[in-house]
């Protein structure tokens, strides 16, 4: 582990842990509620991919922090103001179209970030990214196929899929709203620079949206601040449910 700016590395690990944890929690809510048994298992797989990534990033963040907090402490004993995930991933599941659109947005972003992280100067982050990159590539495929099918499907599926795109679109701007931590990570080769990231993400998304026959909305609303702990109210409810057991029964095991 390089000694330059360990706080930036720790913060980056924590942000990607929180992204994966919150989205994994969201996706897991489809288990037993999916339209088909195959999708039920598919969402369980994707949720487990994400929670597995979260666990690795939390362990790294906990060891870099060096204050005796465990991965579980970081996941279960921080409130929403100390969670640093993007606002996109905390958005509600909504209907099936909204869920796959959110998954496509995040998976495209995470795949591009992990591709860079693999070659960055931080070996611990690179090892996690190498595992995560393949997982996110599959999420892109799975969600992308569904966006195309829904967008290019029936009148109702098209309309719902366009609504999902309109709903999720404003949250995509936060991918590229870098702060000083991100800038430091760009200097270390850990994160892609935001212009490259934006053009690659937009191009990949654009191809899928075009195949789906959907239209990128004309909207200037750019919510943000997730990286600094600013969140919609949705995150509070998600964390309340996720954290109730360890908060009420500290150290509980089975």
């Amino acid at each position: 582990m390089s000694m330059e700016n360990p706080i930036a590395v720790m913060t980056t690990a924590l942000r990607f842990a929180d992204n994966a944890m919150v989205l994994g929690q969201r996706v897991s809510h489809w288990v037993s509620r999916s339209p088909t048994i195959e999708l039920d298992i598919g969402f369980a797989n994707q949720g487990l991919d994400l929670i597995g990534q979260a666990n690795l990033f939390y362990e790294l963040a906990a060891s870099l922090e060096g204050k005796g907090r465990s991965a579980d402490d970081l996941a279960f004993l921080r409130g929403p103001e100390d969670y640093y995930n993007l606002q996109l991933v905390e958005q509600p599941n909504g209907d099936f179209a909204q869920t796959v659109m959110r998954q496509l947005f995040y998976a495209l972003y995470a795949e591009l970030v992990f591709e860079q992280m693999i070659n960055g100067s931080q070996a611990d982050l690179a090892a996690i990214a190498a595992k995560g990159q393949k997982e996110m590539a599959y999420h892109v495929r799975h969600a992308g196929e569904w966006v195309v099918r829904l967008g290019d499907g029936t009148d109702e599926s098209h309309q719902r899929c366009q609504k999902a795109l309109d709903f999720m679109w404003p949250y995509s701007h936060e991918f590229f709203a870098y702060d000083e931590v991100d800038d430091e990570m760009v200097r270390q080769g850990v994160l892609p620079d935001k212009e490259t990231l934006k053009s690659q993400w937009s191009e990949s998304l654009g191809e899928i949206i075009e195949r789906a026959g959907l239209t990128i909305p004309d909207s200037n609303w750019q919510p943000g601040g997730g990286r600094q702990g600013v969140h919609s109210e949705h995150l509070s409810y998600l964390l309340a449910e996720m954290q109730v057991l360890p908060r009420n029964h500290p150290g509980a095991e089975w």
């Binding site: 339209p35 088909t36 048994i37 195959e38 999708l39 298992i41 598919g42 797989n45 599959y138 495929r141 799975h142 196929e145 099918r149």
Partner: protein, 96 residues
């Protein structure tokens, strides 16, 4: 679930490693072959079983008939000389 009744059935074949055959793993519903591949990956290769997947529309499978079982299979019962049991197989030959 009701939509799924309109989806055709696919048979799934998984090859677990290089050099062995695809083996029938089960069947699933999907709107088309690409979705069947994704579903097969999600349902049948979760425990690292797979190196390759084939999906085939179940309607494309022609099956032998139970009524013809006798004519099809009984005649081979008495031909033990067709089994390769009369010579020694070296220990390090796998996948025979």
């Amino acid at each position: 679930m009701s939509d799924q009744q309109d989806w055709p059935l696919f048979e799934v074949f998984i090859r677990s490693k290089q050099g062995v055959s695809h083996v029938h793993a089960g069947s699933l519903h999907a709107a088309d072959a690409q979705m069947a591949l994704d579903n097969a990956r999600d349902v049948y290769t979760r425990r690292n079983e797979g190196a390759s997947i084939w999906v085939v529309p179940s309607a494309a499978v022609t099956a032998s008939s139970p009524q013809e079982k006798g004519a099809f299979f009984d005649p081979s019962e008495s031909k033990i000389y067709r089994h390769p049991t009369f010579y020694d197989v070296p220990d390090d030959v796998e996948c025979l």
